[in-house]
């Protein structure tokens, strides 16, 4: 029988994926668990294995196509009895019958036969057509609205509340311009010169969504300071040989992660999240630090788990592996999830200060800039020291400036006196 393998639900809120490449072609024999297709989600590229053994009879999409969860990825002929699914698929492929090169055969069924064959949206929203239209009018994505009725039924009132809660969902005036101009009328960039249009998708699209959400829900405060890392760099230099002997590249970043983990233990509010729906602060008894990583596809934030329980070399080694995987797009989705705090390091690129955006639902992000030699005053004398600017953005709903400042001081104290990491950090 023909079995349809549909794009499975691959986890946390991922509703769409783009096909990167099919690893098999029509006519190929595939074994269960053999990778058959590479897809790109918001977060990474993953390979999906065949769920059954058989022969590939149809590949309905081509690389570049975007699929929703539930769309058919591949159709495989297996042994066994015929299911309704097969008929549905056959119906979809109906026009085949008119191909002259085929043996005249009757169709499996008449596609004009009414049949339900309808797929519910991945999450069925319980709402009346009137409420759905209200949501469209107010430019609210009804699938994101938490319904107040029984079993989450969404009411008109819920939609109206949703606009007041989501600053980004400003009711948009219906595109009256559509009457005069094409319905897509936007900016007429072409008026000023030639342009190219590239759809926002995959990682880029995900970044755009996350950033809008973060900036529009979190009141950011950014705290600036600097750390004297002269001694720390000396330690890095000294231990480089040891690290290299284990094929690890030791940088200041691993120390920063360790120092941050120590400070997070001291100031757990910065390791918490605000549950906006229940109005509760969620304190996490684990410290997983995300490290912002620049890749060809855009920003990715792989997560080093339990930083507080790992040695600096261990952290460096994991970091190295994770950023390699992020760059070559082989990273597991799980390695991109579960961070409780983030660090972004722009030192390699340059700049003195930046105001990083918090990765919602975390509450803080630390940014380190390029460490440079600068004249500073120590005990009444001008001396040359290596200074690294640091900025910390935090969620002012969860903590205040004083706590943010103390957190930063704790980190700076550890960075300026690396011995303290040995003495004072678990």
């Amino acid at each position: 029988m023909r079995q349809v393998f549909r794009l499975p639900d691959i986890g946390e809120g991922i509703a769409q994926a783009e096909i990167v490449e099919y690893l098999v072609k029509v006519g190929d024999l595939v074994k269960a668990d053999q990778p058959i297709v590479r897809i790109e989600t918001d977060k990474a590229v993953v390979e999906l294995p065949a769920p059954f053994t058989g022969r590939v009879v149809e590949i309905p999409y081509v690389p570049g196509d975007t699929l929703n969860v539930g769309d058919p990825l591949i159709i495989i002929e297996t042994d066994g009895e015929v299911s309704a699914e097969v008929f549905r698929q056959a119906a979809d492929m109906m026009p085949k019958i008119s191909r002259p090169d085929e043996q005249p055969a009757m169709t499996l069924h008449d596609p004009s036969i009414p049949f339900p064959g309808q797929v519910l949206p991945a999450e069925r929203v319980l709402a009346t057509p009137h409420t759905r239209r209200l949501a469209r009018e107010l430019n609210v994505d009804i699938t994101t609205v938490r319904g107040s009725g029984p079993h989450g039924r969404v009411t008109d009132e819920d939609i109206r509340k949703a606009i007041s809660q989501i600053p980004s969902a400003v009711p948009k005036a219906p595109t009256a311009a559509a009457v005069q101009a094409p319905a897509t009328a936007g900016f007429n960039f072409e008026k000023y010169g030639p342009t190219r249009r590239i759809p926002l998708k995959g990682v880029r699209k995900r970044i755009a969504e996350v950033m809008v959400r973060s900036v529009s829900t979190i009141p950011h405060v950014t705290h600036f300071d600097e750390a004297d890392v002269t001694e720390l760099l000396a330690v890095v230099d000294r231990e480089k040989a040891l690290a290299e002997s284990r094929k690890i590249k030791l940088t200041i970043l691993s120390f920063l992660a360790k120092a941050a983990a120590a400070a997070l233990k001291e100031y757990p509010a910065l390791n918490s999240s605000l549950d906006e729906e229940t109005g509760e602060l969620v304190f996490k008894d684990y410290i997983h630090v995300g490290i912002a990583t620049d890749t060809d596809a855009g920003l990715m934030v792989p997560v080093v788990r339990d930083v507080d329980r790992k040695s600096i070399l261990h952290i460096a080694s994991e970091l190295q592996e994770l950023s390699r995987k992020a760059r070559d797009r082989s990273i597991d989705l799980d390695d991109l999830r579960g961070g409780t705090f983030s660090i972004t390091n722009i030192g390699a690129i340059g700049g003195n200060y930046a105001t990083p955006i918090i990765l919602h639902p975390q509450v803080a992000i630390l940014c380190s800039m390029r460490a440079q030699q600068k004249p500073v005053v120590r005990e009444g004398q001008v001396v040359i020291r290596t200074i690294m600017p640091l900025t910390l953005s935090f969620d002012h709903r969860v903590l205040d400036g004083a706590e943010g400042g103390r957190f930063m001081n704790h980190i700076i104290g550890l960075l300026e006196d690396p011995m303290r990491m040995l003495v004072d950090v678990a």
Binding site: A84, I97, A105, M106, T107, P114, R133, A176, A183
Partner: protein, 477 residues
């Protein structure tokens, strides 16, 4: 005017005057847009002229004949019924014409300009119309493609309109054939096959699948198989058509079924195996409108094609090829053009087969729901337990089934096979589109004695508490 020299401008061009196109045109006009509608044949399209409407007229006459023939048991003494097919066709044509004139006058009153001819896109903002008085050029700001679909033919066995016929031909016949082979046991086959069987034709129905109506709730197919037998229709499932040999009168159709090659001779062969979108030859490539692999125009939920400003609705876009879907999408397209936030999303398209008994369904079957990982609870209520069904002489095996989401209690689907299923389903459509709770159906008073009471009872039966079925399991609880 020198023909072809001068392009007429229009705000909205609707190409195709079927149930999608004319509805879109009227809606756009209501919203203050200036609309030009192009139709190459008759206003109302297939649905009004050669589909839904005329077939229902014939079905009505055929039903009436059968009822009269079986009226003895109800105490009506009749002395035989004769079929005057030309007269029936004339009545049907008059009725169709009356409706068509209604559409025409509505368009005129709404200031929709109707142009007769064949439209072809020549760019992303222009098209030509080849009409009886030459070729005219038009420019538009928005276009709605509503060009419909055509019947599929059996490979190598083209329609000749005499012996090998399609649904349109079957609605224009002037003599009742002695024998008819129906290829395809879908809506067309079941409806027209049954009509001619009731008129006295010996009907053989072939279908390629192993089950009748495999897309529907499996119990519906079983009821229908039994019903076909009562009309003397022979049903061959799992059949594969091999070829047709023309005879002096009629033809011999060769087919294989259950591993054997067989043949049947009949006066006519009605092919009803589906339809394909009319996307060829209308200049889609000139405008840059993208189609999918199956030849359907690609659209988003606002019915917009890959070319901004060009919309497509109805049979040319993917989904069920049904008039009410086209009309709904036509309204969406018109409203989007007028700047309203309309969309074709979260919409469930009901479907009806006017077989005997009728079949009407909306939403998910239990199988559909299970394949999407939704647990269901369903309640089935047979018409034989319903007073109203008895009073209209229904002695069939039909039922109404309500499928609900076991977790939330919301109604996922309603499936009916039985008398006037096409009318009863409306309540199911509202329940599914509103995501009603099953309780909304049980707690609504349904007037007695009526057929829609079957919905209330089927909804009650979800919790095994329908009154007119004995439910021992809940006794005393």
């Amino acid at each position: 005017m020198v023909v072809g020299d001068f392009a007429q401008g229009t705000q909205v061009a609707v190409i195709g005057g079927g149930p999608g196109g004319y509805v879109a045109a009227i809606r756009a006009a209501q919203l203050g847009l200036e609309v030009t509608l192009v139709e190459r044949d008759l206003l109302g399209g297939i649905c009004l002229n050669w589909g839904c409407i005329p077939s229902k007229a014939l079905i009505h006459v055929a039903d009436l004949k059968r009822q009269i023939e079986h009226a003895d048991s109800l105490g009506l003494i009749t002395s035989g019924v004769r079929v005057d097919l030309p007269k029936i066709m004339k009545w049907k044509d008059m009725m169709v014409e009356k409706l068509r004139n209604g559409v025409s006058s509505l368009l005129a009153k709404n200031n929709v300009q109707v142009v007769v001819g064949t439209a072809r896109l020549t760019g992303d903002r222009s098209f030509t119309v080849e009409g009886p008085d030459g070729v005219h050029r038009f420019e538009f700001q928005h276009a709605i493609l509503a060009v419909g679909s055509s019947p599929l033919q059996l490979p190598g066995i083209p329609r000749d309109g005499e012996v090998v016929i399609d649904s349109t031909d079957a609605l224009e016949m002037t003599t009742v054939p002695d024998s008819l082979i129906v290829v395809g046991a879908g809506a067309v086959g079941l409806e027209l096959g049954t009509v001619y069987a009731k008129f006295g034709t010996r009907v053989t129905m072939l279908d390629g699948s192993d089950k009748l109506l495999p897309m529907l709730d499996p119990q519906i197919g079983r009821v229908m198989e039994r019903a076909l037998k009562t009309f003397g229709i022979e049903l061959v499932l799992g059949a594969r058509v091999l070829g047709v040999n023309r005879k002096d009168s009629g033809a011999e159709l060769e087919y294989s079924a259950s591993g054997k090659e067989q043949s049947i001779v009949a006066d006519r062969i009605l092919v009803g195996i589906g339809r394909r979108p009319n996307t060829g030859g209308i200049g889609l490539e000139k405008a840059g409108v993208k189609m999918d692999k199956r030849g359907f125009v690609e659209v988003d939920s606002r019915m917009q094609t890959s070319v901004p400003g060009i919309f497509a609705i109805g049979d040319v876009v993917t989904g069920l090829m049904l008039a009410h879907k086209a009309s709904y999408q036509g309204k969406v397209a018109a409203e989007v053009i007028a700047g309203q936030p309309a969309a074709f999303d979260g919409v469930h398209v009901p479907s009806v087969i006017f077989s005997d008994p009728e079949i009407a369904t909306v939403g998910l079957t239990e199988e559909d729901a299970h394949s999407q990982g939704i647990d269901t609870k369903a309640g089935l209520f047979p018409f034989k337990a319903l007073g109203r069904a008895m009073t209209i002489g229904d002695e069939g095996h039909g039922f109404t089934k309500v499928v609900s989401d076991a977790r939330t209690g919301s109604v996922l689907g309603v499936h009916i096979v039985g008398p006037h299923a096409s009318d009863i389903i409306a309540e199911g459509c509202l329940a599914v589109s509103s995501a009603s709770h099953v309780d909304d159906l049980t707690l609504t008073i349904h007037p007695h004695p009526t057929l829609p009471e079957s919905i209330e009872e089927a909804a009650e039966q979800v919790e095994h508490r329908a009154i007119h079925i004995f439910n021992p399991a809940v006794l005393g609880r």
